[in-house]
């Protein structure tokens, strides 16, 4: 599934990023490397997300979130809405 479809409070593993190279690199540098964990903290209808990667929160536009392939982990973050 894509990160843009992610549910609030759910943890995901990053599987693949299919975005322009500079954007992909930027995301990797921010910690979104293969198999890294991402928790969705906030979400808008458009697919724009607030996520937490390696302890840092980011707001991520819908188009970016849509280019990130993820897989749900079985962990639900405590305190999810």
């Amino acid at each position: 599934m894509r990160l843009s479809e992610g549910k609030i409070g759910q943890e995901y593993f990053v599987k693949d990023i299919s975005l322009d190279m500079p954007v992909k690199r930027r995301l990797e540098i921010l910690g979104m490397t293969g198999n890294s964990r991402v928790v969705v903290l906030g979400s808008k209808k458009s697919g724009t997300k607030i996520i937490k990667v390696r302890g840092t929160r980011f707001a991520l536009g819908a188009e970016f979130a849509n280019g990130i392939e993820v897989e749900a982990s079985d962990k639900k973050e405590e305190g999810g809405r």
Binding site: G31, L41, R54, A59
Partner: protein, 677 residues
């Protein structure tokens, strides 16, 4: 030791770097630009134990790639040998991400001292960091500090003083799992996989043979393996058989693997407590409540800036009036002569003083913005407003300058600094002046009361709507013409909420005020004199009758051009030209040009209306003039601010041209349609 030690401050955005830098230097700093670019460069000086230090605040970056201007600047500055020690500021509460930059800084080969900031948050959350193991694993001194509470500052400088000429320690890696030992790498903290290390070795050798002067060939070799554009262009090599593709993904991944190893060893009790920021964000960035909360906060900022600010501004204006009268009295006493008196009083004092009266608004506005920025709220605005703004090709944060534009264009354009992307900033600066500022209101009031009687309110209100519509159209056009295909590029860190730091706010506000004062003293000073000369001089020298002035001559020249817009009257054109000094001036110029005293009174208005109607200037002309006033160049102060903010004469000219074109096109279109009926 007598020579200065250069200390560079490096760190991620939002790591508290500026707070720490401010804690050392105070307001005692030089703000300039990095050569050739619009990225701010801050420098400060201090001494510690009789040793002088020059402190340089590098741009906040997450990494040292060549993808962004800031990163290229930071790494080039460090490589260029001007730096003796790097203080790497890391947000200890977000160690995992912050260490990524640390590893790269260490790879640059300069002495690094790691300052672990925000240790208070770490403790608050019940986490602990092993301050013994961390320096062991990184090979650099680690000093815990709290920039906000100003603790640990002395120890940090002590570490800098003792470390600035130290060589690296040797490492005993225990994360070796490769087939062959890279024992010659035990001076490096970060050792990559055997495959990568072999390639680094080969490329280093090639580099050293082909470019014997190269310093730190290992770093350059890593960059070449990452296919870093800048480095690959500067040091072209034949890499056939060594690296036929970019290994950046593997390198990034391995760095994070090492970081995970560090974090698992040094961080105890990670994330025991639920973060208060997450709780606050649940409300503040709520899909439904986020918008209203933001509008409420902006309403408060607006109220403070323009209601409280205008109240203070009244006192400034009274003081200015008094000063200007005193100046006339003084100049008469010393027999300064009519021209000099007029120049000083009508030109300089009226022009510069008029701009200075905005100081209370600017002060309050930036105080409020500084609080929003420092508390961490500003980044949330980008998220909350992203949906609406991206529809017109602007970033979510552009909403703030545009909203402020309803108050005054000058601080609004200055507020565009909150936008991190240069392209977004320029576009925001282009559209902000179309928001109808408060100075344009007197023009609407005068014209609509004269020509629209009971519909006056509606006529004035419609100006605000037209302004917004034009802004949207221009924003759309600008993004349609921009070369790149723009996707929704929202990618921004949402830092922890914190209570604002007084020292940071004081320095932030003072910088803005100083900027504004400098501008009033230079650009506006010159512009005021030019406008004064145009309005007071003619071919026969100083003229008392404005109809003989150069401005009137220009006005008469422009009559044909303005006739399609229903504004082909030289007096109106001169009034509009004088309005470039400040929009309110349009009203006072009209009263002078048509020889009508107390123009704002009922009697004054009806006699002006009579004069205008007699010359064929009716309701359609009046509405067209209101549109023109709404859209054309707001004022000299705005032009000067746009120039200061874009630092480009071309963009400033473009902005002025767009404004004039928009004003002419829309008012002409309106007048043409209105003339049919």
């Amino acid at each position: 030791m007598s020579t200065e030690i250069n200390v560079a401050f490096a760190g991620n955005p939002n790591c508290g770097k500026t707070t720490l830098f401010n804690a050392y230097t105070g307001a005692n700093l030089k703000v300039a630009n990095w050569p050739g670019v619009t990225v701010e460069k801050k420098e400060g000086a201090m001494s510690y134990h009789n040793q002088k230090y020059k402190l340089i605040d590098l741009p906040g970056t997450y990494s040292l790639t060549s993808y962004t201007m800031e990163e290229r600047l930071a790494r080039q500055y460090i490589l260029d040998d001007e730096v003796d020690v790097i203080i790497d500021i890391a947000d200890a509460s977000s160690l995992e991400r912050n260490l990524y930059l640390t590893l790269q800084l260490i790879e640059l080969g300069k002495p690094v001292v790691l300052a672990l900031n925000m240790m208070d948050i770490v403790e608050e959350r019940g986490m602990e960091i092993d301050l013994h193991r961390l320096p062991e694993m990184l090979g650099v001194p680690v000093v815990p500090v709290c920039a906000r509470k100003r603790t640990g500052l002395n120890i940090l400088m002590h570490a800098v003083a003792h470390h600035h000429d130290k060589a690296f320690d040797r490492f005993e890696h225990h994360h070796q799992s490769g087939e062959h030992e890279h024992s010659h790498h035990d001076e490096y903290a970060m050792v990559y996989s055997d495959e990568i290390e072999d390639k680094i070795d080969k490329i280093s050798e090639l580099l050293e043979t082909k470019y014997p002067d190269i310093k730190n060939s290992r770093w350059h070799a890593i960059k070449i393996l990452e296919a870093d554009r800048e480095i690959c262009e500067r040091y072209p090599l034949n890499l056939a058989g060594i690296a036929d593709r970019s290994f950046e993904e593997e390198i990034i991944s391995q760095r994070y693997d090492f970081i995970e190893e560090i974090v698992s060893e040094v961080l105890v009790n990670r994330d025991k407590k639920s973060h208060s920021t997450d709780k606050a964000d649940r409300i503040i960035t709520h899909p439904i409540w986020g918008g209203p909360i933001f509008l409420g906060i902006m309403a408060l900022v607006f109220f403070l800036t323009f209601t409280v600010g205008d109240w203070l501004k009244g006192y400034f204006e009274t003081a200015l009036e008094w000063f200007s009268l005193a100046a006339v009295e003084f100049l008469t006493k010393v027999n300064a002569g009519g021209i000099l008196t007029s120049l000083l009083v009508d030109g300089v004092i009226a022009g510069v003083g008029g701009v200075l009266t905005f100081l209370p608004n600017i002060f309050i506005l930036f105080l409020a913005l500084a609080v929003l920025e420092d508390s961490g709220y500003m980044s949330r605005v980008a998220y909350v407003m992203d949906g609406i703004m991206s529809k017109i090709g602007l970033s979510g944060r552009a909403f703030i300058p545009m909203l402020l534009g309803f108050g005054c264009t000058v601080p609004a354009v200055m507020a565009s600094r909150a936008l991190e992307n240069n392209q977004d900033r320029l576009r925001t600066i282009m559209v902000t002046p179309f928001m109808s500022c408060s100075a344009r209101l007197p023009v609407y009031v005068l014209l609509s009361q004269m020509f629209f009687a009971q519909n006056a309110m509606l006529a004035a209100y419609s100006m605000y709507v037209i302004g917004v519509v034009v802004a949207i159209v221009v924003a759309k056009l600008l993004s349609a013409f921009s070369k790149k295909h723009e996707v929704n590029t929202l990618l921004i860190e949402l830092p922890e909420y914190k209570s604002p730091n007084l020292r940071n706010i004081r320095i932030y506000v003072w910088e803005k005020i100083r900027d504004y004062l400098t501008k009033a003293g230079t650009t506006i000073f010159v512009a005021s004199i030019i406008l004064w000369a145009l309005l007071n001089f003619g071919t026969s020298g100083k003229v008392d009758d404005m109809s003989q002035s150069f401005a009137a001559g220009i006005g008469k020249l422009l009559v044909p051009a303005m006739t399609p817009a229903g504004l082909g009257y030289w007096q109106i054109i001169v009034a509009l030209i004088s309005g470039i000094a400040a929009k309110e001036v349009v009203v006072s110029s009209m009263s002078v040009l048509y020889g009508i005293g107390n123009i704002a009174s009922d009697a004054g208005m009806s006699s002006l209306a009579a004069v205008l109607s007699a010359s064929g200037f009716g309701a359609a002309n009046a509405y067209s003039m209101m549109i023109f006033c709404l859209l054309y160049v707001p004022c000299v102060a705005t032009i000067a601010t746009i120039h200061r903010e874009t630092r480009s004469g071309r963009w400033t000219l473009f902005a002025v041209a767009v404004q004039l074109a928009a004003a002419w096109i829309v008012s002409t279109a309106f007048f043409t349609v209105a003339s049919i009926f």
